[in-house]
Amino acid sequence: MGQTVAQKIIARAAHRDTVEPDEVLWVDVDIAMIHDSGGPRRIWPMLTELGVRVLDPDRLVMVSDHYVPAQDVGAAEILQTTRAFAKEFGVTRFHEAQGIAHTLMVEKAYLRPGMLYVGGDSHTCTGGVLGCLALGMGSTDLFGVVATGRTWLRVPHTIRVEIDGALAVGVTAKDLILTIIGDHGMSGGLYRVLEFGGPAIAGMGIQERSVLTNMCAEIGAKTGIIPADDVTVSYLAERGVDVEPGPVSDQDATYAETWRYDATAVEPVIARPHRHDDVVPASEISGVPVGRAYIGACTGAKHSDLVMAAEVLRGRSVAPGVLLQVAPASRGAWEQAIGDGTAATLMEAGAHILSTGCGACPGIGSGVLGPGEVCISTTSRNARGRMGSPDSQVYLGSAYSVAAAAVAGEIVDPRMLMAVPA
C-alpha cells in the first residue's frame, strides 16, 4: 500500500517504515517556531515549573510579530520577555519587527522539503508551501516541543486537491482558496491534510502558492502541503539552499477524497461578514460601501500582493472617505517594493503605510476597527470582532479586490479597473 507525502514525513519522524491514518504516535520535531504572543510569556513559566530548559536552541526560531511596535507598556513587556528568553536560551534565529513568522519561515528558507515543523500559531500551515509537514499548535504543545524535541500526533487522512487550468488575469490564489473554502465550509478539511497539485499549481510561484497552504487553517485542515517541485527547488536555491524535489506521494497512495477544480473558471470572490466560508463573486456584491481597505497579514501582504495592489492603484487615488492601510508581511517584501517602484505607487495613490507585523489582522496591532466600520481586507479571517469591535464588519478578498474597492469606495469586481474584460 502506497503512502501519501504526509504519511512519509510522519513515518520518518516516528522512526517507522510506514504509518497508517488514525494511528497516534510520538514523533521527533525537526524545527519549531514560537512568537511573542503565544511564546515565551506562556512557555517560560512552564519550563520553570518543571525545572527544564530549551532542549536545542538551534532547532527553534523565534519571531516578535504580534505586538510590534509596542502600543502600550503591556505590549512592551511582552517584547522584553521575548528578547530575554532568546538570550537566556541562546536562540540565535530570533527576529523582532522583521516580518510575520509564517512569511519569514519561508523567505529565510528555514523550512526544507520533508521536514516535520511545529509552530505555535494556527497559520503555521503556510510553511507546507515548501513541501514540509507544517503543524500549528498551542503554547502548551510548544512548551513540550521546545523542552523535549517531540510531540504526539494522530496520522491524518489526506485529501488530494487537483487544480487544472490556469488562473485568469485579475484572479489570484486567494480567490481560488476562498472558492474552495466556500464550497466545503470552514470544517470541510477537519483533521485532514490538503495536498495540492496539478497544472495550475505547477504554474504558480511560491508566494501565491503559500496563500493556498496558509488558508488551510480556514478549512479546518491539519495542514496543507505542496510537495517540492522545480519551483520549490529554484526558490530555495536562490536562498543558498540546495535540495532535491520531493518527497511526493506514492502513485498508489490512498486519499480520503479528491477535490478537482478548474482554475480557469475561478473568478474574483469575496467572503462576507462574519464567516470566511460565506463566499460570493465580487460582481454579485458590488456596490457595498467600504470605509477601510486593509492590505496586511501573512495571507495578503507579501511582495506579490503589494505588486497586485499597485497594478490597480497606478495612476489612481484612494476614494475620499476611504482609509487604505498597508502593513507589509515582511521587511524583505517592503524593501523589494521600494526597489521596484511598488511602494511609491501605493503611497502616491494615498495608502497609509504601517509597520510590518500581524497588525490589525488579529485585532492587536495598528489599524483595528471601531464599531460600525466596514472593511475589505486581504487577511484570512472575519469572525465577529476579529479585527477590532464586535460591531465592525470585515469582507475578505484578494489584493486586487481590496485595492479596487479602495479606489471605488465600494466593493467592485477588480477586473473592472484592470485592462481585462470582467
Binding site: W26, A75, Y191, P390
Partner: protein, 166 residues
C-alpha cells in the same frame, strides 16, 4: 476525573477562538481574560457560569487562532468539560494539554441548554440526566487519555521526569 456531571450551556457550530477570547484581551493574564469568555456571542457568560458546568456545542468547536488561553480561560470560569459534535484540532489538543475534557459526541445536538449531562470518559458515553438518553462519544486513544489524566501536558511531563529519576 473519569465521570463528569454538570449543567449544560449550549452553543452552535464553528465557535471561533476569536469569539471565545477576542484578540484585544490577549495582552492580559488568564483571570482577567476569563471575565470576557464568549463575550462576543453571549455577553455576561462568565458571570453566569458556575464551577462544574459543561459546554455543549455543534461542529468544529474552537476553530481559528491557536491561542490556548481560550482553553485556560474557560477552565478559569469553572467549565469542566466541552461536549461537541466535532472539535477544531488545535483546540482539541489545547484542551488535552490543559486538563479540560474534550468529548467528541456526534449526537450532541439533542442536548438542550439547562439540562444536566453525565460524561463517562472511559466508556465514551454521554447521558442526559433529565431524559435518560445515552449518547455515544468517541473514546480517547490511551496515549492522549494519559495526558488528560495527568491534568495536562505539564503534569504528564512531571510524571515522566519523576519516573526517570526513580
Amino acid at each position: 476525573m473519569t465521570i463528569i456531571e454538570g449543567r449544560v450551556w449550549k452553543f452552535g457550530d464553528d465557535v471561533d477562538t476569536d469569539v471565545i477570547v477576542p484578540g484585544r484581551y490577549l495582552i492580559g493574564d488568564v483571570p482577567e481574560i476569563a471575565r470576557h469568555v464568549m463575550e462576543g456571542i453571549r455577553p455576561g457568560f462568565a458571570d453566569l457560569v458556575e464551577p462544574g458546568d459543561i459546554i455543549v456545542a455543534g461542529s468544529n468547536f474552537g476553530t481559528g487562532s491557536s491561542r490556548d488561553v481560550a482553553v485556560k480561560a474557560m477552565l478559569a470560569t469553572g467549565i469542566r468539560a466541552i461536549v461537541a459534535e466535532s472539535f477544531a484540532r488545535i483546540y482539541f489538543r489545547n484542551c488535552i494539554n490543559s486538563g479540560l475534557a474534550p468529548v467528541e459526541c456526534p449526537g450532541a445536538s439533542v442536548i438542550e441548554e439547562g439540562q444536566r449531562v453525565r460524561i463517562d470518559l472511559l466508556d465514551g458515553k454521554v447521558t442526559v440526566v433529565d431524559t435518560g438518553v445515552v449518547l455515544e462519544a468517541v473514546p480517547l486513544p490511551k496515549e492522549i487519555a494519559s495526558i488528560l489524566d495527568a491534568g495536562g501536558l505539564v503534569g504528564f511531563m512531571r510524571r515522566e521526569i519523576e519516573a526517570d529519576h526513580r
